[in-house]
Symmetry: C2
Subunit: 311 residues, 2 copies
C-alpha cells in the first residue's frame, strides 16, 4: 500500500467508507465499517471514539504511506461529528470546496481534512454533507450542452441538486427513503406486507402510475391505497412494499416539475435504487437518466487536487 | 341500569367504547377499555376472545336489561373482527344503514348487531368502519342550507366525508395521525424533539403556514424543515413536534381544495385535535368549522331506531 496517494473517507450517519486512492485518482481499495457517527456518539463519542474508528478503518494505510493526505466528507463535519466544518452558502463554487477544509490533528500526527457541507438559507433551509463531494465526482457525467444540470441522489434523504457553471446553485431534500422505512416498519401499511421472492417492478410501476395520475392528492392520502387495494384483493401482500416504494418515489418525481427539473438527469446512489428512479423518471416523461458510478472517491480526489493536497 | 334502552359499542382497532343509552337516546353511561380488536387477536382471537371482552365491557348492563338491543360499529365488523359485516358501496343512504346489520349470537343469548362499513371502489379504493355512525350522529350539526355537507374526522386515519341528501356520496382518508407518530418515533425528525410544557400553537401555525405557502412541494420534502430550522437555530427542540403537526395537518387541509371542500365544515373527534384543524382550516380561508360532540352514541341510537331495534 506504499502507492497510496490519498486516503479518502465518506463518514456518514450510519456508516464509514474508506478509500485508498492511487496515482491518477484511481481507486486502489475500499472498505466499509458500520462506524457511522451515530454509533460513535452512542459509544461515548469524543475525539477518542473517532480516533479509534479512524485507526480501525485505515490506520494501516496511514502507517504504510505516512505522507498521504487524508480527506473526509459527510456528517463527520457536523456538530455531532469529530470537528464541525462550517457550512458554505449556496450558490457554491465546487472548485472552491478544497479551499474551505477544516483540519483535525490525529493522534498519529497526520491531519484529517474535512470538506464543508452546503447550506441554503434563502427559503426553507436546506443542508447537505457529503453529497457535494458526490456531485463533484459525477460532474463529467452531465451532458455538457445543458446550462443547468440536475443530479438526483436517491437514498434515506434524497437530494436533487442543480448545477450551473460548476456551482451548486440550489438543492432540495426528500425524506423518501426514511419515510418508506417508517411506513413499512411502524404503520398499518406494513402489517400485512410480505417479502417478495424478487423485487416486483410491476407493482413499483403501479405505484408510480398512481402518483402520476393523482398529482392533486397528497401522499398522506394516496399511501392508504397500499392497504385498501390489498383489502379488495387487488394487491397481493408480496407486492405491497414495492407498490408503496413506487408511490413514494412517484410523488418525489412529481414534485420535480415545479422545480423545473429538465434535461437528462444524472443519478448517483445504490444501483438498484437508481434503476427504480430511472423507471419513475421515464414514466413522468423525463429524458433517460444516466447513473454515475463510483463518484465518491473521484470527488474526494478532485477536491484534494483543488486543495493542493495531491499533485 | 334497568332503564337501558340500547347498548351501543364503538369497537375499533385499539379500543372498545361502550355506551348505555336511555330513553330518548340520551347517554346514561359510557366506558372505555383497551380491548381493541388488535388486542383480542393478539390474545388468541376467536369468538371466545370477543365474548370475554364484550362481557367485561357491558355484561352487567345486558344482564340487568336483557331486552336491550346491542348495536356495534367499527373494526369489529372487519375480516379480523368478530363477524365480517360486508361493506356497503357509496353513495350510501345513511338511513338505510339500519337495514343492513349483521347479527352475532352472544353466549348470553342476545344478538349483537354490527353496522356495515362503507367502500368506494370507483377510483383508489376507500374504506371506513365506524365513521359512518359518527357522521349519522353529527348530521344535525351541518348547516341545513348547503347542498353538500363536508364532515372532517381527524385522527390516526383522518376521513373527509361528503354528504348530500342524507347520503354519503364520497370520502377520503389521510394517514396524517399515524404518519405523525411514525415520523416522531422512528425518523431523524424525532431525534431532537423535546416535550413542550404546553402545546405550542404558534409553532403549529408556523407549520400550517409552510404547508400553505409551499403547496407545490410534497410533504416528503417540507417535513425536512423540521430538522433544518432547528439546525439553524430557528426552531427550538420543544417546538419541533407542534411545528411538524401543523405541517402535516396543513398539507391535509391543502389537499381539500382539489376535492372542492366548501361551506362550513363539521369536525368530529378529540377536542384538542379538532381545534387544531379549526386553526388550519381558518388559515386556508375556510368558513369557521364547528365541532360536533358525542356523536357516536347519538349515531348508534339513530341507526337502532331506523333498524326498528328501539321504538
Amino acid at each position: 500500500v506504499a502507492d497510496t496517494r490519498l486516503i479518502g473517507l465518506d463518514w456518514g450517519t450510519s456508516s464509514l467508507r474508506a478509500y485508498r486512492v492511487v496515482a491518477g485518482g484511481e481507486l486502489g481499495e475500499s472498505r466499509q465499517l458500520p462506524a457511522g457517527i451515530l454509533r460513535v456518539v452512542a459509544d461515548g463519542g469524543g475525539a477518542d471514539g473517532f480516533e479509534r474508528c479512524f485507526e480501525q478503518a485505515c490506520g494501516d494505510w496511514a502507517a504504510a504511506a505516512p505522507s498521504s493526505p487524508i480527506l473526509a466528507c459527510g456528517m463527520i463535519g457536523s456538530a455531532q461529528g469529530w470537528r464541525e466544518a462550517p457550512y458554505l452558502d449556496v450558490p457554491t463554487n465546487l472548485d472552491a470546496l478544497g479551499h474551505a477544509l477544516t483540519a483535525v490533528q490525529t493522534r498519529g500526527g497526520a491531519a484529517l481534512h474535512i470538506i464543508p457541507g452546503l447550506i441554503d438559507r434563502r427559503a426553507l433551509p436546506e443542508v447537505m454533507r457529503g453529497e457535494e463531494t458526490q456531485v463533484m465526482g459525477a460532474l463529467e457525467h452531465a451532458p455538457p450542452a445543458a446550462a443547468d444540470r440536475w443530479f438526483g441522489l436517491p437514498g434515506t434523504h434524497s437530494k436533487w441538486v442543480r448545477v450551473r457553471d460548476r456551482h451548486i446553485v440550489q438543492f432540495h431534500t426528500f425524506m423518501t427513503g426514511e419515510v418508506f422505512a417508517a411506513l413499512c416498519g411502524h404503520t398499518i401499511l406494513g402489517r400485512t406486507m410480505q417479502q417478495p421472492p424478487a423485487p416486483d417492478l410491476h407493482a413499483f410501476d403501479r405505484g408510480v402510475e398512481v402518483a402520476r395520475s393523482w398529482t392533486a392528492r397528497t401522499v398522506l392520502s394516496t399511501i392508504f391505497s397500499t392497504r385498501t387495494l390489498h383489502l379488495v384483493g387487488a394487491l397481493p401482500a408480496e407486492a405491497q412494499a414495492d407498490y408503496l416504494s413506487g408511490l413514494l418515489i412517484g410523488h418525489e418525481v412529481a414534485a420535480l416539475e415545479p422545480l423545473a427539473v429538465t434535461g437528462a438527469v444524472v443519478l448517483v446512489g445504490a444501483d438498484e435504487l437508481c434503476r427504480r428512479y430511472q423507471r419513475a423518471l421515464s414514466a413522468f416523461g423525463h429524458a433517460p437518466a444516466s447513473i454515475a458510478p463510483d463518484v465518491t472517491p473521484r470527488g474526494l480526489w478532485r477536491i484534494a487536487t483543488a486543495a493542493g493536497l495531491v499533485a
